[in-house]
């Protein structure tokens, strides 16, 4: 990074000099007869002033060439940065997969949502094998529970999946499967 910044700092004066030279060339493209002598005098004066600085000029040109090499290296550095950015996303996706595999947390969340939807007291027992129908839920309540789970976990349960759900464990398994598919796709 230090070398790149140093080269960029050195590159600026070369840019300035090049811009000046281009402006002068543009001026000479359309010379007028009346002002040609004045411009010639100015150029001769500049030539005399530059006699002692010819080595500096050559050095500037050499530095420009070196800066070209640095440009390619800096571009390579940029590509290296792009490559580096892809790896963290892969790691984060792996971490997500590890987090999703935690069964008890998902089951606990499902139990909380079911208890809230059916307005059950806190002391009622909800085991993974408990059926929704045993808790007094009709078919519309079951669909409502599934929609609540969709909202909580940010997933979309298809019609086939929702029809097969009748216990807490089945709901939790389906949710984990959908979450893994979603994370795998992303």
């Amino acid at each position: 990074m230090a070398s790149v910044s140093a080269t960029s700092l050195r590159f600026q004066p070369f840019l300035k000099l090049s811009t000046r030279t281009t402006t002068q060339r543009n001026q000479f493209k359309f010379p007028n007869i009346n002002t040609s002598e004045k411009k010639f005098r100015r150029c001769s004066e500049m030539y005399h002033d530059l006699e002692g600085r010819s080595n500096g000029w050559k050095r500037v040109t050499k530095e420009g060439r070196d800066q070209g090499c640095y440009k390619t290296s800096s571009l390579g550095a940029v590509s290296v940065g792009w490559n580096r950015r892809t790896f963290p996303s892969l790691r984060s996706s792996r971490l997500r997969i590890c987090a999703v595999k935690a069964q008890p947390e998902t089951v606990q969340k499902v139990c909380d949502i079911v208890r809230k939807q059916l307005a059950l007291p806190a002391e009622s027992e909800l085991t993974p094998d408990t059926k929704f129908s045993a808790l007094g839920a009709d078919s519309l309540d079951t669909v409502e529970i599934v929609m609540g789970l969709e909202e909580e976990f940010g997933i979309t349960v298809e019609e086939d999946g929702s029809q097969n759900i009748s216990t807490v464990q089945e709901a939790a398994d389906l949710i984990e499967k959908l979450i893994q598919d979603k994370s795998g796709a992303s």
Partner: protein, 131 residues
């Protein structure tokens, strides 16, 4: 998204039997629930109600007609429900309509029907006001 999904909804033929009608009711409920986040955004209901409460309100309105057993009547009710959902999603209603019908409407109706001393005139008045 909700608009695009509801734009393609067409009038289905009558249900052949009770099972098909029941299936269509669940499909309608599912479509309505998936539209609720858009409804919350359109009418800016975040400080008045939550998505789960709206979902419960919709479910309770469906449950009010739990006694219907004729597939033709169920199809007619589904048609009216889909029309209502389309009006809500297309912003054909105003914010106070949504609040009056789905946020506080249920409480008013419940309190009205529970009071035995209320006259028939007032009962009908309350029903028509919030229906």
């Amino acid at each position: 998204m909700a608009n695009a999904a509801l734009r393609n909804v067409k009038v289905l033929p009558n249900s052949a039997n009770m099972e098909e009608a029941r299936h269509r009711v669940f499909e309608f409920f599912r479509t309505a629930c998936r539209s609720l986040p858009s409804v919350m955004e359109i009418y800016n209901l975040y400080d008045v109600v939550s998505v789960s409460e709206l979902r419960s309100s919709v479910a309770s309105q469906i449950r009010n007609n739990i006694h219907v057993t004729d597939p033709k009547v169920i199809d007619m009710l589904l048609f009216k429900g889909m029309e209502e959902l389309k009006n809500v999603v297309d912003h054909s209603k105003q914010r106070h309509h949504i609040i009056g019908q789905y946020v506080v409407g249920r409480q008013v109706q419940d309190s009205a029907t529970k009071d035995p001393d209320t006259s028939t005139f007032l009962k009908n008045f309350y029903n028509t006001n919030y229906f």
